[in-house]
């Protein structure tokens, strides 16, 4: 009986394993990130460079709906001072109102404003992009299988289409993107930006920095989360060991 059951279970396990192995998708890059692991934190210089890449390249088409300018400062921000955040916000023109005359008006952005959007609405975005809608980026890293590795893979995955591959109208060949045909033209190349801190702007560097920034954008509370987690975990560990010792003592009289 036992042998039969083990044999059946073994065969079932093998079958499942084999079936699983069949489904291979595009492998993800193996990039290392400062925010990896339970003690990982964001690298502020990297985030600021990534923010520069976003502002100068991505922001032309992609919004960051869930972010306020104020998020750039503060303990969970990019390390900018209050004055710097105000200056960054003031570069945007924001429609406000209506004023006392009942009219909408333009004013410089304030830290409490959400990030300015490149298009007024989705239809305008499609019209400007050959029918394709550039997705909002504030959750892009959390919303894709593979997270930062995947986004990095797409940004560095542009190639000439291999011979024989028929490309759709206005589509670009990308190794990482599912189906390999992506509407977004290659956004980053060597020296797409000139970094304020003098870092050499290779494609890999830019992609790495902007992915770090987008990871922060999808979860600015990651650092307090992990910090709290380490404390909670240590507390629970001590409390559990204490409970175990007390349990042993109480139960010593039973049996």
């Amino acid at each position: 009986m036992r042998k039969l059951v083990l044999a059946v279970a073994g065969a079932a396990a093998l079958g499942l394993g084999a079936a699983w192995a069949q489904e291979a998708s595009q492998p993800l890059p193996d990039e290392h990130w400062s925010f990896d692991g339970i003690f990982g934190t964001y690298d502020r210089a990297e985030l600021q460079r990534g923010f520069q890449v976003y502002t100068q390249v991505c922001a032309a088409c992609h919004a960051l709906e869930h972010l306020l300018y104020a998020d750039l400062g503060g303990p969970n921000g990019l390390g900018y001072s209050e004055a710097e955040v105000k200056a960054i916000a003031a570069q945007a023109q924001v429609t406000d109102g209506p004023n006392d005359q009942g009219e909408m008006f333009q004013r410089p952005g304030r830290p409490s404003d959400p990030f300015a959007r490149p298009f007024a609405n989705d239809k305008a975005a499609r019209a400007a992009n050959n029918g394709a809608l550039p997705p909002d980026l504030s959750l892009i890293v959390k919303a894709r299988e593979g997270g930062p590795q995947y986004v990095y893979g797409v940004l560095t995955g542009y190639r000439e289409p291999p011979p024989g591959v028929k490309m759709g109208q206005g589509m670009n060949y990308n190794l990482q993107f599912p189906g390999h045909q992506i509407a977004m033209p290659q956004p980053l190349r060597d020296d797409s930006v000139t970094y304020a801190d003098g870092t050499k702007a290779t494609l890999q560097q830019e992609a790495h920095d902007v992915v770090a920034f987008l990871t922060w954008a999808s979860e600015p509370t990651m650092e307090p989360r992990k910090r709290t987690g380490v404390k909670v975990f240590l507390f629970l560990l001590v409390a559990t060991v204490c409970a175990y010792v007390v349990k042993r003592r109480i139960w010593a009289s039973v049996h």
Partner: protein, 417 residues
């Protein structure tokens, strides 16, 4: 037995009029419990604690959540980013659903292994199945609330199942949706019900406990207690044991909440719901995957729905499908192995549920579904008749005194002081 709490005058005054202290004394303090419970018996109290955690965090989330289709997704992101410790509340709640199901599934399999559903605990078991069904309904509706892609399309697929009902199917679906598509009315009612059902669960849990305390816990030997030498008071013995178990459990739970909060979730649910764009794969949360696999393994839609729901409803009949008088699988040499095969079967169904129903997955899914029903409908009655159980110990004490690691199963060796 005179309870020490009764010495306080105010407590005596209250207790004379409303005997809550007497009740607590009886049911939480001196409540006699078998002395040989192993650590698998921790999962009942863990499930109760998870229910409290879910209600607690859920109430705080509801304070900042907006059940309106254009605002729901953004309000969840606001909770994550701007509400103080909102990320903590949400991650505890979101992962809490998974961990609630983990402890509940373990609790159920413990009951299956040790025969906790057998006389006189049939109603206790059936109330548990009711709780499971309520939990599933609550979890399903809760998953819809963030109004992401998986929320929306999961709700569409699952509610559409009812269209398989002959004649009135489509009318039922329209009635469930409150319209002709999953839309704002659907979200509104799911929110209302998601807030209501946990309190219904609390009510059924009370009944579950009342039924439990009528005859007391089953135990790893599956034999009745013969006298006071077989019992120990719940407090302090099981309060401290449950507390230690809770600590170990919370270590795992906290690891997910703080370090891998999105590992169990689907990335697609961080994309706002879009009725015009079906995601490439619509997959339910992991704890529904085995049922999803059963659904998709049956070629006929109505039959698939019936077999999916049937896989849970069959548990109601378990006390009568199992013909063996011996409770604990420790003494049932054949059933024991079928039990482990059932676990493998359920895991296999879960893996199948996570894949597109193509090629080998269809075959595995069908075999596993058939086996699931074979286990309950054929194996259980027949093995009960043919199997020769091993001799039962005369009493809990005698087995424990013999140091019966072999008799009491894996648990006894774990708890030996």
């Amino acid at each position: 037995m005179a309870a020490p709490v009764k010495q306080n005058k105010l407590i005596r005054w209250i207790d004379h009029r409303l005997p809550v202290f007497t009740l607590m004394e009886h049911e939480l303090n001196e409540y006699p419990t078998p002395k040989n419970l192993n650590y698998w018996w921790n999962f009942g109290s863990l499930a109760g604690i998870m229910l409290v955690i879910m209600i607690f965090t859920g109430v705080f989330l509801a304070m900042a959540y907006t059940p309106q289709k254009d605002l729901a997704f953004d309000s969840v992101e606001r909770i994550m980013r701007e509400v103080n410790y909102g990320w903590l509340m949400r991650y505890i709640h979101m992962n809490g659903a998974s961990f609630f199901f983990i402890v509940t599934y373990i609790h159920i399999f413990r009951g299956l292994y040790y025969g906790s559903y057998k006389t006189p605990r049939e109603l206790l078991w059936m109330l548990g199945v009711v709780i499971l069904l309520l939990m599933m309904a609550t979890a399903f509706m809760g998953y819809v609330l963030p109004w992401g892609q998986m929320s929306y399309w999961g709700a569409t697929v699952i509610t559409n199942l009812f269209s398989a009902v002959p004649v009135v199917g489509n009318a039922i679906v329209t009635w469930l949706w409150g319209g002709f598509v999953v839309d704002n009315p659907t979200l509104n009612r799911f929110f209302a019900l998601h807030y209501l059902l946990p309190f219904v669960i609390v009510g059924v849990v009370m009944l579950h406990l009342a039924a439990l305390h009528q005859h007391g816990s089953n135990n790893p030997l599956g034999i009745d207690r013969k006298g006071p030498q077989d019992s120990i008071p719940f407090h302090p013995y099981y309060t401290i044991k449950d507390l230690f178990g809770l600590g170990v459990f919370l270590l795992f739970y906290a690891a997910f909440v703080f370090f891998w909060p999105n590992l169990l979730g689907d990335p697609a649910n961080y994309i706002p719901a879009n009725p015009l764009q079906t995601p490439p794969e619509i997959v339910p949360e992991w704890y529904f995957l085995p049922f999803y696999a059963i659904l998709r393994s049956v070629p006929n839609k109505l039959l698939g729905v019936v077999m999916m729901f049937g896989s849970i409803f069959i548990l109601f009949l378990l006390p009568w499908l199992d013909t063996s008088r011996v409770r604990s699988a420790t003494f049932r040499p054949i059933y024991k192995w079928f039990f482990f095969v059932l676990i493998v079967d359920c895991v296999a169904l879960g893996i199948v549920g996570a894949h597109r129903p193509e090629g080998i997955w269809v075959v595995i899914g069908r075999i596993a579904t058939a086996y699931y029903y074979f286990h309950f409908l054929l194996m259980m009655p027949f093995v009960g008749w043919f199997e020769r159980p091993r001799p039962l110990p005369t009493s809990i004490s005698s087995a424990v005194l013999k140091g019966g690691g072999r008799l009491a199963g894996a648990g006894a060796t774990m708890e030996k002081p």
